[in-house]
Structure formats: C-alpha cells, structure tokens
Symmetry: D2
Subunit: 363 residues, 4 copies
C-alpha cells in the first residue's frame, strides 16, 4: 500500500496522469455532512492549471463525479468515491522518456521498483495531477471543519528568492478566503508580482523555480495529538511529504528555531479572557506533539519543477550509457503556487482525521 493516509478517515488516491481516470476513496467521513459542490469546485479550480502563462498548457476541467458516499448532497456514512476522467492526454510518444529517465523525476526509481512495468506517461501515478483527487478529499474535509469553526488556509511564503509576509499571529477565516480569491495566493501582492516575474523569467530560460508554502489552521482545541509518534507534527509531516515535490516540512519557527536561544524561542504563556494563550507562536501551536490551542503553523518546501526545457544529462537505460534529454511539451515553470490549495487539502484531511478520533486522553 502506498497512496493512502489517515486512521479513522482513510484517503486513498488512485490514477495515472495519462490513464482513464484519477480519483479518490474517502472512507470514514461522518454522515449527514452537507457538501457544497460549487464551493468544492472553486477549491479545485485553485490548483487547476489556468489560462495563465505561469502554468502548464494542459487543459483539464477537473470536475469530479461522485460514485458513492454522497446522496442528496450529504455524506451518508459509506465510503465516498470521486472520479475525474482524464481528458487531455496527448497521445505522443513516450518512448524516449521511458528509456531516458528525467532528472529530478521518479522515472528511474519507479523503473527499478516496478522493473519497467510502471506506467510513467506524464509521470504516471507520481504526477502532480494526482493532487486533484487529493483536493477533492481535502476540500470536503475543509468544509466539514469550517462548519465547526476550524479553518485551514495557506499562502506562498516564497518563490524564487522572493518572500511574502508571514501569516499574522492569529490568521482568520476571512484572511484565508481573501487569499483564496486572489489569482496569485500571497498576502503582499507586490511580493506576488515579483514572484510571478521570477517564474516567467525561469520559463523564459526554459527553466523552473521552487517555493515555500506556509499553511495555518485556526480554531482547533488544545489537547489534540498523541505523544511521540502520533503527534500532530508526525501525522501532518507524513501526509505533506506525499505531495509531489515537497522536500521539507517544518512547524512554527522550524529550522529557524535551531538558530535561536531558548529565551528567544520559548513562547511565554499568558491568560487572555480567562484562557491560556502564548504571546508568540514560535512553536506553531504544537508542544510535545499536542495542540496548545494556538494556531497550527507549518511550512512545506516545494522543489523547482524537474521538467525543464533546458538540455539535461541523463542515461539510456537500455544501452546503459550516458545520454542527453531535452523535455519538450507542456510543463509548469513553477508548481508551488498551484500546490497552495493542495497543502490546505492535506492539512485539512489530517486534522479532520485527528478530530474524529476525539480527545481520548481521558474517557
């Protein structure tokens, strides 16, 4: 098994980039939850390659068909299956790619693992396209959470060396919606403008750029998560690394905390309106793997798209000799901005799963 995560809420993603369909089974959704399909579609559209020059030219409408689990607009307790048919698969020859693994892609690893039987057309099951069904699952989780006052949002923290402002100490649902409504998901639009320029400059150079995504979740109760290996951080990280191209995950100050002193990094406790808060949130809302009631904050590093037009060194697997490769065709000069809702989706799914477990710290 591989393409699944979750404990009480199991999310199982299937499909290959150029196969018949991609989709997801979500098992364990609570029953009776109304799903707003228009809102879900808007969420899906945030990751869809648009008409923008920032994205691949592949055209997909990405409208899911619900085969089960959703009746009369409500979840019914049975596993939900959503399917998205693949429309725009170009039938060009993948022969070369099959023999010449693309640097930075899973091609070679998959070729070894599956002894040449992998369907690697368009990246196969490793394609970023698989994040569409992930967004179906996460978009549903997000709606269920929002109904309970729990909101998950994200923005581009940096792209190509340009940085956005960080989230404020207490991000709000309104802020999340505001970012989601923007064509480019940043807090500071001028930073966004420079990020876009960096992406287009890379594109011009037949190259690509990566980025960092900051995600936050507000409204969670304190006491969620288990010590050591089933904490909030463990489970979020395990799932976030499932998003193609993510190579790093950190919570709160993360790697920056390693350079601070304890007196700089510890968040002082304080009482506000009769509730325990911390004055800062360098812990990212998690201590000992357990939520403190402060917003959860995390950052995911997205590597630059490995598919680039520039000629690259590779090997011919059949001849076992060095070779060259110039990837033609459609590809994103950056996927980090499209990955913003994907990070939200994965975070929402993990957090709903943890909430469904309830706080069995006491009985």
């Amino acid at each position: 098994m591989s393409s699944e995560f979750g404990r009480l809420l199991r999310i199982s993603v299937f499909g290959q980039s150029h196969g018949r369909a991609i989709g997801v089974v979500v098992d364990g959704l609570p029953a009776g939850e109304e799903i707003d399909l228009e809102e879900l579609q808007r969420f899906l559209d945030r990751r869809r390659p648009g008409n923008s020059p920032l994205s691949t030219a592949r055209r997909e409408t990405d409208v899911p068909e619900f085969l089960s689990g959703l009746e009369g607009g409500r979840t019914c307790g049975a596993p939900l299956c959503a399917v998205i048919r693949n429309a725009d698969q170009r039938s060009r020859d993948y022969g070369e790619l099959a023999d010449r693994p693309r640097p930075g892609h899973a091609d070679y690893a998959a070729w070894v693992k599956w002894k040449g039987f992998a369907d690697m057309r368009g990246g196969g099951h490793f394609s970023g396209r698989l994040t569409a069904p992930l967004c179906v699952a996460g978009g549903i989780a997000r709606q269920i959470l929002a109904r309970r006052g729990i909101f998950v949002g994200a923005h581009l923290d940096s792209v190509g060396g340009v940085s956005d402002r960080p989230f404020p100490l207490w991000p709000t649902a309104e802020l999340f919606e505001e970012i989601a409504a923007k064509p480019f998901p940043v807090l500071d639009d001028r930073a966004g403008e420079r990020m876009r320029e960096a992406i287009l400059a890379a594109k011009e150079d037949l190259d690509s750029v990566g980025g960092v995504i900051e995600c936050a979740a507000v409204g969670l109760p304190a006491g969620l998560g288990e010590p050591m290996f089933e904490g909030v951080e463990n489970r979020l990280a395990a799932a976030l690394f499932g998003i193609p191209a993510v190579k790093g995950v950190e919570f709160g100050e993360g790697f920056r905390a390693a350079g601070l002193r304890g007196s700089e990094n510890n968040d002082p406790f304080t009482v506000e309106d009769g509730r325990v808060r911390t004055e800062s949130n360098r812990a990212g809302g998690v201590l000992g793997g357990i939520t403190t009631g402060m917003p959860i904050t995390m950052r995911a590093a997205v590597k630059p798209t490995p598919s680039i037009g520039k000629p690259q060194k590779t090997v011919s697997l059949s001849a076992m000799e060095n070779a060259e490769l110039a990837i033609r065709g459609r590809h994103d000069p950056c996927v980090a901005h499209r990955a913003v809702p994907v990070v939200e989706a994965v975070a929402a799914a993990v957090l709903l799963d943890m909430l469904l477990e309830g706080n069995h710290g006491t009985f």
Copy 2:
C-alpha cells in the same frame, strides 16, 4: 496509541522520566541476529549526559536489561523488550511545575489532554530521557543493517549559528565511525570547538541553544519505498518528529531547494561502473518517495532546550493568572549534540522496517 512506529518492525517506547523505568518493545526483529551488547552500549553512551559541562548533571548509567527476544546473544523472533531502570530521580517538589507550565515544554498541552492526571515530573513521557530506549531499538537496527552493508551516520550540522561541513557525496561507514568516536560529533573539529563555545556561552547566560543534525544512510538498494504516502520521506519524517524538540525535517537540499532553479536542483544521471548514479545528490537519494540508490540524506532541526534558568513568563493554572517561572536544577544548555545518535537510531529503525517489507514492487 502514540509511542509506537513501524509497520513490520514495531517499536513501542514506554516510561516516564521519573517513573520506575523506561523501555522499549521491538516486535518484528528478524531471528538469528547477533547483537553485540558492547557495541550497543557504546552507541547508547553517545547520547548519555556525560561529565561534560555541555550536558545535564543527571547521572544515569543507562544499561538496558533484556527481558525477552534476545537469547544467547541472538534475536529469537519473539518481541524484544529492553528496560532501563531510572536511578537518579531527585525527589524534589514538582508542585510548582505542575501548576506553572514551562514555556516551550509539553506541560500545558499534556495538562489539557490528560486533565491534570499526566505524570509530568521531569517532563514525564515527553522527556528527552525517552530517547534512551529509542536508541536501544535503533542501535540494534543499526547493527542488523551494518551486517548487510547499510550504514547510518549523523553529525551536528550547526549549533548556535556555527556550521559544520556537510557530508561528502558518498559518506562511508568509516566516516560515520570516526564521528561517533569523537567527544563532539562534527566533521570539522574547529567548527565543533566554536559550537561548544556557543553552548557554554548560552549556559553562562542561563539560556540554551538549538541545532541542526544531518543524517545519511548509505548502501540501500534503489526501489525502496512506496509512492505518495508510504515513501521513504513520509516514514522517516513521521518518526523523526517523534524525537522531542525536532521542529523541522528535510531531505537532500530540502528548504534550500525551494530557492533553486530546476537546472540547479536536478541531479544529472550518469552511468558509473555499469550502474546508474547521479552526479550530485540534491534529492537526498529519494525521488517520488522511492530510493534511487544514492545515499539518503536528511536534516532535522532541534529547537533550543526549553528549560532555561532565566526567568520566564507563564501562568498559574490553578489561579488562571499570569505568573513567573525560573527553572532551577539540572538541564542541558543544548540537546542537539546528544540527539545525533537518536536521529541515527530512528533512521536506522525506519530503514530496517522498510527493508523487511522487501521490494514488493514486483513479486
């Protein structure tokens, strides 16, 4: 459940810092493996607080007793249980700590989760002391891997703003042993000297520092790991976040990759001695969640020890009002150097677990 990880190899850690004993059950070890208990003890000693001023003054011999699973010096297939008795628990009053949660510690989160029933003496189950049994499990895994030519090693990448050299492209078992034999686990001893100075300076200021640990694993076959959510990165990250104080995990270039261009980050494939290699290893040996056969490299960010002597703001949970706290007694001005073998232990355990699954990519 919480304090367990692994699939075929399950590692379950138990104990509280000031309880009777701490320990670990390792279920799923292959039978017939000779365990060198002296070598294991040397491994455990690397994380033990020593006579050094860099560490806590708590004295523990940390010699495990094996209750099961090990007969005549060999694993016998049955679950292995190792227990370490707690010796040096000071019987001083923890009353203040119970009411005044230490900033940066799990005290408050645990208090909410377990409604005041948690045993938080010395950090309880959240204590760094729990990494001793983790090292028993990982130290055993490390020996089993080494016998198959797979070696796991780590060093301090940075502490308090001072950086060590990174691992070379192909770290060796000899290099790992060399670092392990040093009193301070770095490649560049002059950098190590400055790190120690940074730790002592923080100590002088009744403060603490954090650090980053780089870990590498060599000798693994290509094709290990599953796509999406059961990849090498997902599983290593999920386990590494189980080490107290870890707030970030990255593979290969990690967060730095987000600032590179594709042409800079992609590792060119090449044929060397009839085998496919990459000329660089910015992917950290993992593409699409699956090993490439290159060394796996990862880095874990360790936050500064939250226990510091400086007065800090906190709250009184009984009075629900602001309060002050000055932590007295023994504590480490830095735990990052002691966490180096812990990261090795966790990585070794995860990798052995994955190897036991075999490569069922084909049958």
Copy 3:
C-alpha cells in the same frame, strides 16, 4: 475507516447497492502481473445472480471498468481501481424500509450509527452486492497466486441441514476448477441436488436458508504468519467476517476440535519425500498462527438471508412502536452458494497480502 483490509496489499471497497456505482481500489499489487480479464469475468459470474430460481431476480452484468492500475493487460504498480456501474436499481419507494428496520439486517444499527443519514436503499453499503468488487480484487489475487502454484478453492459444506463431502487431505487445483465450473458448487452433486431442494422449499415458504462454506488454500510455504495477533487465522478471520452474513469462522477442525481429545486432534508429523508433513490436517495447516506447509482449511458460517417474504415483527422508528413488515420484491432464498467465490476472493487477497510481506522471520 471501515471498508478496507490488508497491510501491504490494501483493498478498499466502496459503493451502495442503489447508488451510481460500486467498486474497489487495490493498492499494493505487484507490477507486471498479467490479468486475464476473461478468467476474471468467469470468476465474477460465479457470484452473480443467474437465471436460476435459487437467486434474486435482480439483473446486473457486473462487468468492471478499470480506471487505473492496469495498462496493456498488466498491473503497473499504481493502485488499481475497478468500477461497476449499478444498472438495475428499481426506483420503488424505500420509505417503509427506512422507518421499519428489517430484522436480521443492518438497517437499525446503521440508522443509529449515522443518525438517519445512511443510504439504506437495498441495504446500501451493507448489501451483498458489495461482494462483487471484492471478487474483482480477490479474483486478481487468485490469478497472481495461481501463477506461483498457490491455489484457493471453496465449496458449499452444507445448506439447510444437507452436507457435502469435505475436501480431501490434499485438494488440487483441478478439483477447485471442477467445482468452479459446476452450476452449484459442491463436491457431491447428489448432496447439491438436495441442497437446491432445501433452498427452493424455503423459497416456497417465503423463507430462506443459510449454509457453511469450506475453503482451502494449497501450495503455501511453511512459516507464513506471525505469532499471536498477526497470524494467518487472525487475518483471514478478520477479513472473512467482512463478508455480509458470515457469523462464524473456524480453521481445521475448529469447533469440532473442542470436543476431541488431544490424541485425536494432534496431527502426527511424518517425513514424506524428504519433507515434513502431517498425516492428518485437523489443524487446518496453521499452528501457532503460522503455516505448516499443509493445506490451509477454513469454514465460514453464512446465516440465512434475513430478507424473507414472511411477515415479521419490527418497529416503527418514527412512532417508536411495534409494527409489522413483509418484505416484497427480489431477494435470494439463500446466499451461501453465491458466497462461495466471495470466500475464495477474500482468502486469496489475505494470502497474497501475507506473501508480499515475505517471510521476514529471518532477514
């Protein structure tokens, strides 16, 4: 989560009886396995309600569409998703059933669990119809096992008080095929004839009958399975109880063993052609949860179909008062004979999963 089983091979079933489609995701299949779709269809047809008076009149062609995981007739390593569209859902009113739970059905339990939001039309997700995708998964597993000389077969052990002969000590692939080719899956056709009479007699009486299914697996190596809770019996039983209407599972002599003496129940070891065998197989090929190399034998008890035409006592959930119910429409007077391939499917899936793990007893 609920509708999933397996460890390295995960089988996730979705759909409701009267929803758009039913289906299955099989994650973890080895790559490169050729799947004979005609053979698979023949396997599926064994559980399909036929033209026979022994079965429901519902007509379904039950031809799966493969959305992923199968390319060019071979598994490709990525999760396989198969979907079967529901065709013959009668649009009659289920209002009465929603309010009056059918005795022996999941209606009431599901109503409590999902607070009235469950889709219980035709039994919803609890319907025996969900065994069709289970047979897709198991039918594929069966082909993969057969290629390695491992064969799984089953027959009706008893129905309505009439018993078939048991399997011989060493059932063969040929015997399994012979039974599979029969219109009624028994060893002794005269017993089968009397079983059919019992089913028709029950039907005449607007009633139903149950049955017992015996299943065997041959060709498995010794040493498969783990002690205590991850043994062959634990895992087979956990999955077999997932087949609707199964209320008992036993291995070897099972409940009969409880009435024997040790000297009668122990299987004497003997050497045959240089291999260790047992002269009898009352243990059903499993000792201590681990395979002995003898055939695995198990029996599953299938209760009589709860849907019967006879008037029954029930309650009105809206009025909270006693009520009567006479179930009209199509239903099977017996499902035990149709469940024979389902038991094979589940057993094959579990055993393939265990084989994929390999024997990590030693490394």
Copy 4:
C-alpha cells in the same frame, strides 16, 4: 510485528515461557483511571494454574510490576508497562523437543519461520503463559468498562462433550461476578462437575480435552463498529484468534445459524420502555458489523492441549526421519477453563479500544 492488537488502544505482549520475564505494554489508555490492583490480581488468579489437579503443576505467582503508566494508582496517559518475572522455569533439557516438534504445537512452524533460532523452551513466545500479561491488559480494560456500566463475562460452554447452560438473554454484572467467584467457571455446577470428571479422565489416560467458551458483553451502546472490515466481529475475532489454542470464533448463533431458516434466525424488533430491542438475540448483538444495543455474545473453540503424555508420532528434524515422542513433565489436561478470563480480557480490550474511537458515524 505480531504480538500486538488495537487501534487507539494498542496492546503489545512480549516474553517467552522460560525467558526472564513476560509482560505487556498498553498504549492509549485514557488518563485518570483508577486501577484496583487487588481486583486485578483476583482477575489474574482466575487463569493461574492452581493447586487443582486440573492444571499444570507449574507454580507462578504472576504478580505484575508496573514500570510505567500507572502513578498513584491511576493511569497517567503515558503507555503502561507491566512485567511478570518468570520464576519456575525448570532447567531441564529441551534438546529433544528442539529436534522433535510436538504434534499440535507451534514448534515446527516456528522452526521453519525462524530457521532454528526460536526460543521454544516451554513453547517460547507461543506458550499459554503469554496470556498472563494479556489478562493484565484486559483486566485493566475490564475495570475501565465496568465504571461505565459495561460488563464482560464468560463461562465454559462445553468441555469434553459436556455442555453448560447458555447465558440468558440479558446476562448481568452480578451473574458474571458469580461465575468469576467459582472455582470452575460454569453456570450449572452439575455440568461443571461432569466437565471436571472429563478432564480428570483424560488426564488419567495421559490425554487432554478441549472446550468452548461463551463470552458476553452488556451495556454497550448501539452504533459501535464500522461496516465490512472494521466491524465488532472482525476485530473481536482477529484478537480472539490470538489466544493460543483458539481454532474457531462465532457470534450469536454462529455456525448453528447456518442450519436455521431466516424466519427462525431473524431477531424480531420490539419497543421496550421506549427503546428498540430484539426479542431474541441470535445475531449476538451485532448486525452489519455494528452493535444493536443488545448484549454481544461470542463463542471461542479451544482445542485440546496438544501436550499429552501418550506417545505420539513425530519427526527428527536433524535426521529428517520419523520418530516418537512422549512428552514428560507438567502440562494441563485442559486449558479451556483457564482460558475463560483470557477471553474476557481480550474481548474487554477490543471493546474499550472501539469505545475510545467513539461513534464517529456522525461528528
């Protein structure tokens, strides 16, 4: 992994019959639960071999030491570890047994699995002795359940062809206590007397007998359990087959249901005091894998003790030729009566685990 079960409540059993100690880690217990250690000891004593001629002469006090998780008589949220030192291991030679596998025992399967490295002295990790730590875990679960009005009890349903009365439709906590207080756990003491005679007769003949255990759980809410593979039956069965010597598990009428007609087996619903009940309980309190609110009833078949004094046929593994074996020393002529509290323990642990998950059918 092998010797663990549970989802939110993980129970991990370790130890070998003649090793240093046996024990259990229970991870996920709710915090703040008072554990009555005297009551727990009485529970453990029910499975202990007594002075009775019905049991082995092995003497063990079986008093657990709690290394963690229990502070001041209460659970503290951290994993609980309990250890029982092995006292009465006779140091006689096991050489013969190592070479001549005992019929009906795991010896041969373990020898194959672990290539001769298994510690099979006294059955090693497969010994019935491992049920002592299982009873520690289950005895604690039983106390936690009882505090919430949920009671688990069992009795010997039959031994050596002699049957006890079945449980009444609504067994009570008082009835469970009454049986537990008896020297021989039956409802009908005259049946018990004849069972004892059957055991002694078998002993006289250097032989052994098996038995069936009926277990019931009362007080559970309706709506517990998940459809298909995570139902109450699946999970109870998977755990019950972990008890050494169990070869069959059934719920409600179980195998007998297979011989009934639908009209005989369906339990009519009725309203009693404003609550939905069934007039009979042939379903054993479970429909579609989900509790109905009626008592859960199950039966486990225990095979006759394989260790018998009568000479038996076996093989010499070193010589690969037929051989004879007469097992000397202490062994139980029947283990079914001692397994009664073990079945209670396992059932209680599974049910507490399911209750901790809560009913997340709706949110």
